[in-house]
Amino acid sequence: VSPEPADFDLLTQSHTRPECFGVLYERHAHAVFRYLARRTGPAPAEDLLADVFVVAFETRFRATRHETRSCLPWLYGIAGNIVRSHRRSRAAPHSANQDAYGVDWDAVDTRLDAAARRSELEHALSTLTDVDRELLLLVAWEGLSPSEAAVALGLTPTAARSRLHRARARAQAVLDQPCPTPEGVS
């Protein structure tokens, strides 16, 4: 039994046999959707999913490769750009929502017990630069290695590793600080 072809084998085949790209969709649509949903919410993610794969198909000749031969880092890079375009198109001029790698915090899991957690995380990550925040989330939420996340963000592997370390430490330091007590509450 031959193993399943690696993503980049399929990508190469899709240059002359475009239908091969469909296998990549079946393989990664769920993961890309979750990436989108974590950053924009489920409803926009459903609209944006097609855009990611159509853009990926159109730019398949210029895919950024990773030694794991997985397409996911490259797809997340495209998805990140599409999220930013989406946010820019929806944000008022000069709005803070035009963050380069923003997160729609309302989109983060709104289960009752997660609501407070979401605020904590938002607070902790607010101290990070946009790129460092996205780097941390690509590793933590999407399960990429630092070098894979580097592909998605256009960083060197070394820079990604250093930035990740710094981002993790900084976010943890914020979490370690005592919570401010609301005025009037003793």
Partner: protein, 309 residues
């Protein structure tokens, strides 16, 4: 609150609906169909509409797509038999294991290196950059790397070492088994994979900028020897002009990843990743380790750090 726990708790999200999957599949099918020259007239109309909407995102996507750079002289030689590579790597392990040391209680691990990336992603493509890092065992460290930021950048909190997506503490590093079979299995378990080809990169990560003990370094090289298709390149000179032995794994449709080690002491001199695109363009990343060792102090980061655009 632990950051890792918090990230795990907030990672949950629902999957796509059946309709969303079908809709995206249809949109992609139209694009594929047109590329195959089988588009129907109605599909062309839909596509033109879609193209208009996609102009902005295509422009944005281009920024993550292509990496083109001049081809470096990589000193490629025809790889010899894998058995030669195994022997060379095992010899490196023996040499590494005989070195003095073991630094479970040092304050910092200092590494000096130079690196170069050839890529159109970076504004400093092809430029050789000097990197100094002080990784703290229990205290915060510091980094001087103009590729990350100017000045002295703080590395907040105790240092971590990252084979793949992992973040091992100093103590974790010293808790790794030094039996090669156990270490290989431990790394595969930690990486949550059974793909042994991933161990080449993971071991390189642990051999570089880390206070791994001589016994662990020996075991890491023994793990490298078991990586499928590891090839001996032969005697080469690294970016600093030092003589060493290079081994590599060739990754089909990607390029290769290479390590150069010192035959005398089994130290890692350099690692390099080269990616070749379909049109023959080349992207490369090479880091040359110039010195490393334990140290008791680290520089004070600049007060203005970290500020980053």
């Amino acid at each position: 609150m632990n950051l890792d726990l918090l990230l795990r708790e907030t990672a949950g999200t629902a999957g796509p609906s059946t309709q969303a999957l079908a809709g995206a599949r249809d949109a992609l099918a139209i694009a594929i169909s047109e590329a195959s020259g089988r588009a129907a007239a109605v599909a062309h109309i839909r596509r033109r509409r879609h193209r208009a909407a996609m102009t902005a995102v295509l422009a944005a996507a281009a920024s993550v797509a292509l990496v083109v750079g001049p081809t470096l002289d990589l000193g490629d030689q025809p790889p010899r038999a894998t058995a030669d590579a195994v022997q060379a790597v095992l010899s490196a392990g023996e040499a590494a294991g005989q070195q003095p040391g073991g630094w479970p209680a040092a304050n910092y691990w200092y590494s000096l290196s130079e690196y170069q990336q050839v890529s159109h992603f970076t504004e400093r493509s092809g430029e050789t950059l000097r990197r100094e890092v002080w990784v703290g065992r229990t205290a915060s460290g510091a980094l001087m790397d103009p590729g990350v930021n100017e000045g002295t950048v703080p590395l907040d909190g105790p240092g971590t070492f990252s084979p793949g997506s992992l973040a091992l503490t100093w103590d974790d590093l010293y808790a790794l088994p030094t039996d090669p079979a156990q270490l290989e299995q431990e790394l595969l378990d930690l990486l949550n994979t059974d793909d042994r080809s991933r161990l080449f990169a993971a071991t390189a990560d642990l051999l570089s900028e880390s206070p791994a003990s001589p016994a662990l370094r020996k075991a890491l090289w023994q793990v490298v020897a078991q990586v499928p298709d590891v090839q001996l390149v032969g005697h080469v000179r690294d970016g600093a002009g030092r003589s060493g032995t290079a081994v590599q794994v060739v990754i089909p449709d990607f390029g290769h990843r290479r390590m150069i080690f010192n035959d005398q002491d089994g130290s890692l001199l350099e690692q390099e990743t080269v990616q070749r695109g379909d049109a023959g363009e080349t992207e490369s990343f090479r880091i040359t380790y110039l010195s490393q060792g334990p140290t008791e102090t680290a520089p004070t980061p600049d007060a203005a750090q970290p500020t980053e655009s």
